[in-house]
């Protein structure tokens, strides 16, 4: 078997040409938005460095990185969930980035204290509510969703979804296991229906009257509000965005990031750091906010008009690594409390 493999490797390496002279940077990415392609194209035009991408699910990419070991061609690992970067770091496939330029670019609250990853954008997991049936003053915190007044009114997607897992992890980190479990039980008993569908489906379900409030990521509202279809626009307009936990002394709304980690075996480290520097620069951050409804990680850049219309909000300053660290507990809470 091994001999065969060696032979096979030999044949293939004999066939493939030596490409070391090409200036490039290799990405394993969970992000696959159109804006990313645009950013990479701009980067290449500016620097002459070619950007190569493999797009797949974060956990599967971590497994690939682990098994490729020192032979991995990947330089950067891009995710849409800080928890996955924590996992990658735990799996030993990342190294410290250490670039003052990047640190200067990004908001202090979003940084990894250990510098294993750098954020590019962030989003909040907010509450949206029916303009018709819910008064804004009825809403206050995530914790308040456990109140019986929400019985049969809450809509949310399943616990297989990483954004829900991250939110639950933040609650475990902030409130502890027991309180979070009590909270989850109460929220589950307030569900309008079994968890299912996408974030956008939850908003449609509010429009359809199947529930009154939903827990969704902020940018999906932006997507609905910019839809070409009149009916979707109406659905988007039938709800308002509410940022929870904004009161005095409260911790702020849960956020999660899109972020980039530098792989341990990065063969093009210099180019890789250049790309992160570029993506966090004011220039590239403007491109993000003009083409998506995420919040920019660069403090000098303002979000898009639709996003700005929801107003400023206070973010939960929890170390984002906690979103990975507390995830196993969070999952068990989902299962124990019957959050499907």
């Amino acid at each position: 078997m091994r001999k065969f493999l060696l032979l096979f490797t030999f044949i293939i390496s004999a066939c493939s040409t030596n490409q070391e002279s090409i200036r490039e940077v290799n990405l394993y990415s969970q992000r696959h938005y159109a804006v990313d392609e645009l950013q990479y194209k701009n980067f290449t035009e500016k620097t002459g460095i070619k950007v190569n991408v493999v797009k797949a699910n974060a956990d599967q990419l971590i497994e690939r990185l682990k098994n490729e070991g020192d032979n991995s061609p990947a330089d950067l690992f891009v995710t849409v969930d800080a928890g996955k970067l924590y996992n990658a770091r735990e799996a030993g496939v990342l190294q410290k980035i250490e670039s003052q330029n990047i640190n200067k670019n990004i908001l202090t609250d979003l940084r990894d204290p250990d510098e294993f990853w750098a954020p590019i954008t962030y989003r909040s997991r907010v509450i949206v509510y029916s303009k018709e049936r819910v008064k804004e003053s009825d809403l206050s915190t995530y914790e308040d969703l456990a109140d019986p007044k929400w019985k049969n009114r809450i809509l949310v997607r399943s616990s297989s979804n990483a954004y829900n897992q991250a939110l639950m992890s933040s609650l475990v980190a902030n409130l502890g296991v027991e309180n979070t479990e009590d909270w989850s039980s109460a929220v589950v008993s307030n569900f309008a229906r079994d968890p299912k569908g996408s974030d956008r489906d939850q908003v449609k379900a509010i429009a359809a009257g199947q529930g009154d409030i939903a827990i969704v990521n902020s940018y999906y509202i932006g997507l609905l509000l910019s839809s070409e279809k009149e009916e979707e626009l109406n659905a988007g307009n039938s709800v308002s965005v509410f940022f929870p936990n904004q009161g005095v002394g409260e911790r702020g709304s849960h956020i999660n990031i899109s972020a980039i980690g530098l792989t341990k075996s990065s063969p093009n480290k210099e180019n890789a750091i250049k790309l992160i520097e570029y993506l966090t620069s004011q220039e590239a951050q403007e491109v993000y906010v003009n083409n998506s409804y995420e919040y920019p990680a660069n403090s000098l850049v303002e979000p898009s008009d639709i996003v700005k219309s929801w107003g400023d909000f206070k973010i939960d300053k929890l170390n984002l690594n906690a979103l990975g660290e507390f995830r196993p507990e969070a999952l068990k809470i989902f299962d124990r409390t019957g959050w499907k």
């Binding site: 490797t9 696959h32 599967q60 297989s160 299912k196 569908g197 996408s198 009916e231």
Partner: protein
């Protein structure tokens, strides 16, 4: 004869030996998974067993039940009608009833939910015209039953194809005898035709069930927690790869048992078609009965193809202005390239194994030939994982070779089935004749079996091509740099809830698949006519 067999036995041995070695290489990723099954911790497995797996298993069985019933109804009834009657549009239906196979099941799920949703065309239409009726149809359509029906619509062609061929091959003698013995038409159908076609229908149903077990995108969207969701909960949520492998191995074992039971029950009762009987003559239908059968045949076509296709087409037109045609062209190119290259390799390897099984009398090769189909019983992502573990620390990961190797493991079973049914039809005596004329095994394969099984090889190419084209998890996990296919792009837009943007990529998948199926249909015709 005996002497000839002995004479060739020595030469055959080399083929047998070669095929065993080759099978071990193909099975290496599966073997690695099984080794992993026994190593590592079982924490996640035990946790899932305690908390979730009972529910997950029940959900899986329920979903399989609904999908199977839907697919059986939609597959068998039109197949019976078309095999036995002529009516206006018969030829048309015989073509279009295959087409839902070109629509990946997750696209079927996403598309229908979009159609049925509150903001979709149906509810919007009625809200403006009849608020009362609009209120009645304003429901939550993300239900396991709806999912089962949608999967049935996407998968019934497997049963239609199998029963269509089988019904056509059953000679009129059986039907005449049964009618002479006083059985009614309906009794004949249930007591003679169905039992005779059971192996064929069962092989179709087996494919349907395997597809349901493998389904991830649609079941996750519908919030139906099946066994596959459990596998991915272990991997993606708990980050426990070993737990995922253990669950996948359990699934594999269940499928194997199921397969063994089927084989055992089949071996007790043997079915032979009498080849020399006349094909059943088709009867003409007119008037109200013709209308009825047209209606029945329209249902699967309408709901399984025309409605989702039109909706996707409409989305494509609406988003036409923002379509990136360079990219569309590149992805179409990638898709055709990787699908045809791997399908060609897969069908020749399938032919090789079946040929060795035929020329050797040893039991080993019948086992080998069954074992290499194991890949079909594992979710694609788990095969991808097995391949990653196999090529751990080599620089081969991320190359085309590895990607195609994984497709090979996954789809060998798909290519095998049409080739096998064709090879089995030819009596073994033609091999003896060939050898008496001095053909060695290689020439026997090249000059006899290649030409006489050519239609089957083309059919196998088509079905494999369509499966590779629709394939998602393996392509994602083992993809080389900058390598997107139509399927991966469609899925990435769909999960980001940008359905209109995914439309043009779905449309190309469906169109390519439909064209291939039209080719397949003409070859199925030839197979039916040749026999």
């Amino acid at each position: 004869m005996e002497i000839i067999h002995r004479f060739f036995a020595i030469e055959n041995k080399r083929w047998v030996f070669g095929s065993v070695i080759f099978a071990i290489i193909l099975l290496a990723p599966v073997i690695i998974l099984i080794i992993n099954f026994f190593s590592g911790t079982t924490d996640t497995l035990l946790y899932l067993l305690d908390n979730l797996l009972f529910d997950y298993t029940l959900n899986t069985l329920y979903l399989i039940l609904i999908t199977s019933i839907t697919a059986l109804f939609l597959g068998i009834i039109p197949a019976w009608i078309i095999s036995n009657y002529t009516f206006l549009g018969r030829n048309f239906f015989d073509i279009v009833l295959y087409l839902p196979l070109a629509i990946p099941s997750y696209i079927m799920g996403f598309t229908y939910i979009d159609i049925l949703s509150y903001t979709g065309p149906i509810q919007s239409f009625f809200r403006e015209r009849s608020p009362f009726f609009a209120e009645i149809i304003n429901r939550d359509y993300l239900q396991v039953e709806i999912l089962g029906i949608l999967l049935g619509l996407a998968l019934y062609p497997y049963i239609y194809t199998a029963s269509r061929i089988s019904f056509s091959l059953i000679g009129s003698n059986y039907i005449n005898i049964s009618r002479n013995l006083g059985l009614s038409k309906i009794q004949t159908f249930f007591k003679v035709i169905l039992p005779l076609s059971r192996p064929a229908i069962f092989s179709g149903l087996f494919l349907v069930i395997m597809e349901v077990l493998n389904e991830y995108g649609a079941v996750k969207y519908f919030g139906v927690n099946t066994f596959t969701i459990g596998i991915f909960r272990s991997w993606n949520s708990f980050g426990d790869v070993n737990g995922a492998i253990q669950l996948a191995c359990i699934l594999l074992l269940v499928v194997l048992c199921f397969f063994a039971i089927d084989r055992f029950s089949m071996s007790k009762s043997k079915f032979y078609y009498q080849k020399n009987t006349q094909l059943n003559k088709v009867k003409g239908l007119g008037g109200s009965r013709a209308l009825m059968v047209i209606l029945i045949c329209s249902i699967p076509f309408l709901f399984g193809f025309l409605i989702p296709f039109s909706f996707i087409l409409n989305n494509t037109i609406e988003s036409f202005a923002i379509t990136n045609f360079d990219k569309l062209f590149r992805l179409t190119n990638n898709t055709i390239y990787v699908s045809s290259l791997s399908s060609i390799i897969i069908i020749f390897i399938a032919l090789f194994f079946l040929f060795v099984e035929r020329i050797s009398n040893s039991k080993i090769n019948s086992y080998v030939s069954s074992l290499i189909s194991l890949g079909y019983a594992l979710p694609g992502a788990i095969i991808g994982l097995g391949v990653i573990l196999l090529f751990s620390n080599s620089s081969l990961l991320g190359t085309f070779y590895v990607l195609i190797f994984a497709y090979l493991i996954r789809f060998l079973a798909v290519a095998k089935s049409p080739i096998k049914s064709s090879i089995d039809k030819h009596p073994i005596t033609i091999d003896d004749t060939g050898r008496n004329l001095g053909l060695n095994p290689l020439n026997l394969l090249r000059r006899l079996h290649l030409p006489i099984n050519k239609f089957a090889l083309i059919s196998a190419f088509v079905v494999t091509f369509i499966d590779v084209m629709k394939e998602l998890p393996i392509t994602l996990i083992l993809s080389p740099f900058n390598f997107d296919t139509l399927a991966t792009q469609t899925y990435q837009f769909a999960i980001e809830e940008m359905i209109p943007l995914s439309a043009i990529y779905s449309l190309v998948i469906i169109t390519l698949g439909s064209l291939m199926l039209l080719i397949l249909r003409s070859f199925i015709d030839k197979q039916i006519n040749v026999s």
